[in-house]
């Protein structure tokens, strides 16, 4: 198994534990993994953390040929590389969300997809100039509905 497989293993095992340990319920509709959709992955994601713990990995992770226990240095390297690129990933997700939101906000007949995407690309790119441009204050439409820029959208 590769490290990703091990993390997946802990993840699915987390679902199993959720189902079993949460299974002493009065009603089937509230039993085990039958929960709110935005929570259903929470226990399994917590279980993934075992896959990043040297103390845990060293109990079973062995070299396939020599049988040597996984070196602490290797687990440390895994931990160091874990957050590589997550900032870029998050910005990308925000960009996708902004596209979906902006497409939803306008009259489909007047939607210029390419122009909209180009504009949003400009406001999510992480350069100093684009950051200055995207910090434009919120504007208010004539109907009084608040329209927000890409970076300011959110519950408030």
């Amino acid at each position: 198994m590769e490290h990703g497989d091990v993390v997946t293993m802990f993840h699915e095992f987390g679902h199993l534990m959720h189902h079993v340990l949460g299974g002493d319920q009065r009603w089937v509709t509230q039993s085990g993994v039958a929960t709110e959709h935005d929570f259903v992955e929470a226990p399994s994601q917590m279980f993934e953390e075992w896959g990043w713990s040297y103390e845990t990995l060293s109990r079973f992770a062995k070299h396939h040929a020599t049988g040597a226990v996984i070196p602490k240095e290797l687990v440390d390297k895994l931990a160091k590389s874990r957050t590589f690129g997550v900032g870029t990933w998050a910005v990308q997700q925000m960009f996708y969300a902004a596209i979906a939101l902006r497409f939803h906000q306008v009259d489909p007949a007047k939607l210029d997809q390419l122009a909209t995407v180009k504009q949003l690309q400009g406001s999510t790119r992480r350069s100093p100039t684009s950051r200055a441009r995207s910090s434009t204050p919120r504007s208010v439409t004539s109907s009084g509905t608040r329209r927000c820029t890409t970076r300011t959208c959110g519950p408030s």
Partner: protein, 56 residues
Amino acid sequence: MRKGTKLGRIFLDMHARDNKFKHAAQFPMVSGVGGMQLPRARWSATSPSRSRATPR
């Protein structure tokens, strides 16, 4: 917590085969109801599809 008490059953179905679900997953089989039925769930995996047969 509840030492010696049977809480549920899990089934491991770890290896890939034809026509099997292609991703790792957990499938509830029986939902637990206190005092009436124990929870059961299946853990479905596809090893060793994602890993190389022989690790480097």
